[in-house]
């Protein structure tokens, strides 16, 4: 009967999607009829500001069919490169993914050992706590000007912002996971005269792994949220820059495609870590 639940859920999902697309199609068709111009009663100045007079039809919200066609074009040739302002979505996505993976990777290398230290040493935990408490709530984008000023490279600055936003959840979760390893498991290792190094790898790491993975999963989610905003700020390349650029080009179709791609990529990243989390989880 559980399979029938999955089946029914899938059916409802498809139905909801169909309804959504239908409403979307209907709404945009309405726009199309309203046509080439300014909705009646709108201040012409405001209409100009909104871009409604600049283009005809195309500026209106694209229909799902148009988006579908655009998506097809994108998927068939995602990696073309025709200069700085015309790169394929796939290429832009690869830039963003690269920045996220580098920033996130460095954050993993910093947060997990530091989290171990904080979790194992009450002294370090107390000593570092004020710094963490102050640094953690800072919006990662607030670091951007400082990063740009000191690093002087927009790409590396974006990587730094990703690092700084993904380090905290991992750090705190690692510290918490390490600090709450069951005393009896540590006592087992102690009575077996297991050295501190081997103990860290054979008892503390496996015991804390599920908690650490939770932190890593939160972090990758935040990093993927932040990269879009960061790239909008620094410009140049990346999916965030792409969205902003297409908005400036008034290509709403491409904006919608980019939004879809961002969502799917974020889901894939999360699912990958969820998979690893399942591997290290143990039933008690």
């Amino acid at each position: 009967m559980t399979s029938s639940l999955t089946l029914r859920a899938a059916l409802v999902s498809v139905l909801l999607l169909a309804v959504f697309l239908l409403i979307w199609q209907g709404a945009t068709a309405g726009f199309g009829a309203g046509g080439t111009g300014v909705p009646s009663g709108m201040d012409p100045e405001y209409a100009k500001l909104m871009g409604l007079t600049a283009t005809t039809g195309k500026s209106a919200l694209p229909s799902p069919v148009e988006v579908g066609a655009g998506l097809w074009n994108v998927l068939t040739d995602p990696f073309y490169d025709k200069g700085p302002n015309d790169k394929g979505v796939g290429l832009q996505l690869a830039y963003s993914l690269g920045r996220v993976l580098i920033g996130y990777g460095i954050a993993v290398l910093v947060a997990i050992p530091l989290g171990f230290l904080i979790g194992m040493s009450a002294l370090m935990s107390k000593a570092l706590d004020p710094f963490i408490q102050v640094l953690k709530p800072i919006s990662p984008l607030a670091w951007m000007p400082l990063a740009l000023y000191t690093i002087k490279d927009s790409g590396i600055s974006a990587v730094f912002v990703i690092f700084i936003c993904s380090v905290w959840p991992m750090l705190l979760n690692t510290a918490f996971g390490v600090a709450s390893v069951r005393k009896e498991w540590l006592n087992v290792a102690r009575t077996l005269e297991v050295g501190p190094f081997k103990r860290a790898f054979t008892v503390i790491l496996p015991a804390a792994a599920p908690t650490i993975l939770t932190g890593m999963r939160i972090s990758i989610g935040i990093a993927w949220l932040v990269i879009v905003a960061a790239e909008m700020l620094v410009g140049g390349t990346g999916i965030g820059y792409f969205v902003w650029n297409e908005w400036n080009n008034l290509s709403i179709t491409n904006v919608i495609i980019a939004i879809l791609v961002i969502g799917v990529m974020g889901m894939l990243l999360d699912q990958m870590l969820a998979f690893v989390a399942r591997l290290v989880t143990f039933p008690e």
Binding site: E184, W185, N187, R190, T191, L192, E193, F282, P283, E284
Partner: protein, 296 residues
């Protein structure tokens, strides 16, 4: 005492910080020694400090005063020659049965090959009757099976001494009985020196050579040491038919119900922390608790 002392608890006390900056003394000035191959049980009410004594014996905890000497050297910390069977079995849940036992074996024999470790671990998994379940995770085992893994893990490092904290208390009567039999057989065969905490009077009588009675805490002391009058050859099924069985049993229960509370205020004349009274309850003539002869 003429017998050579293998384990010697010498005047240990343990104090903890209580709320409000005061300290509570859990137990004070305990003296007790064991000879090699002896099976001792300790009985006392909850909170009197039995686990704390066991932790000090294992080296996981340290006394505030006094020392414990094992085989001529004072305990400095946990060591592989004293294996602990934890009350909560303390298996590592991410390892299989074999993994848990092998973890102990490879800690003991650091140079052994994988195959050697595996064979050795399998031998002890067989001893506790878990062959066939070696690839299961602890979460797939029943309480009794988990406890067996804990026993196999402790035995696999072939320690000089076994420390057991209420190893059977969480089990049903049937499983408990079987495991008691197995542990007794293994300990007799290998000549283990065993220190075991229990709440179960019958278990103590079946397993122990001597039973240590602890008064209620705080400031707990050893009230007396009961020598088990039953012959070493005994069987669980007909132990209650032994002549002295009820004499010991009544003595122990009487202590737990009555004297563990009142002992502090009614210490027998000449009570000495270093040499607590030794009694040997037998069927007849019924000895009175404080009129006993001191054992040599």
């Amino acid at each position: 005492m003429s017998e050579p002392r293998y384990v010697s608890i010498e005047g240990i006390s343990r104090r903890f910080q209580a709320a409000g900056g005061r300290t509570t003394t859990v137990f004070d000035d305990l003296w007790f020694s064991m000879s090699k191959g002896e099976f001792a049980c300790i009985i006392g009410h909850s909170g009197c400090g039995k686990t704390t004594v066991l932790n000090i014996l294992s080296g996981l905890d340290r006394p505030d005063d006094g020392a414990v000497v094992v085989d001529g050297t004072a305990i400095e910390g946990p060591a592989l020659d004293r294996a602990v069977i934890f009350q909560s079995h303390a298996l590592l849940p991410w390892l299989t049965v074999l993994g848990n036992v092998a973890y102990a074996v490879s800690s003991r024999h650091k140079r052994w090959s994988r195959a050697q470790v595996r064979d050795h671990a399998m031998r002890f998994i067989e001893v506790v009757g878990l062959k066939g379940s070696e690839n299961k995770r602890p979460s797939e085992l029943s309480g009794g099976m988990k406890q067996r893994v804990g026993i196999a893990r402790a035995l696999s490092i072939e320690p000089k001494m076994l420390l057991m904290d209420e190893p059977f208390s969480a089990l049903d009567a049937l499983t408990r009985g079987t495991l008691q039999d197995e542990v007794r057989r293994i300990c007799l065969e290998t000549g283990q020196t065993v220190f075991m905490i229990t709440h179960d009077v019958d278990e103590a009588i079946y397993l122990a050579d001597r039973i240590v009675l602890m008064t209620n805490g705080p400031n707990a002391t050893i009230a007396e040491i009961v020598q088990n009058p039953l012959p070493r050859e005994r069987r669980r099924l007909d132990i209650h038919k032994q002549a002295d069985f009820y004499a010991v049993r009544n003595h122990l229960i009487d202590f737990l119900v009555e004297r563990s509370k009142t002992f502090k205020d009614q210490r027998p004349a000449g009570y000495d922390h270093r040499h607590p009274p030794v009694v040997r309850p037998t069927a007849a003539p019924q000895p009175s608790p404080d009129g006993d002869k001191r054992a040599a």
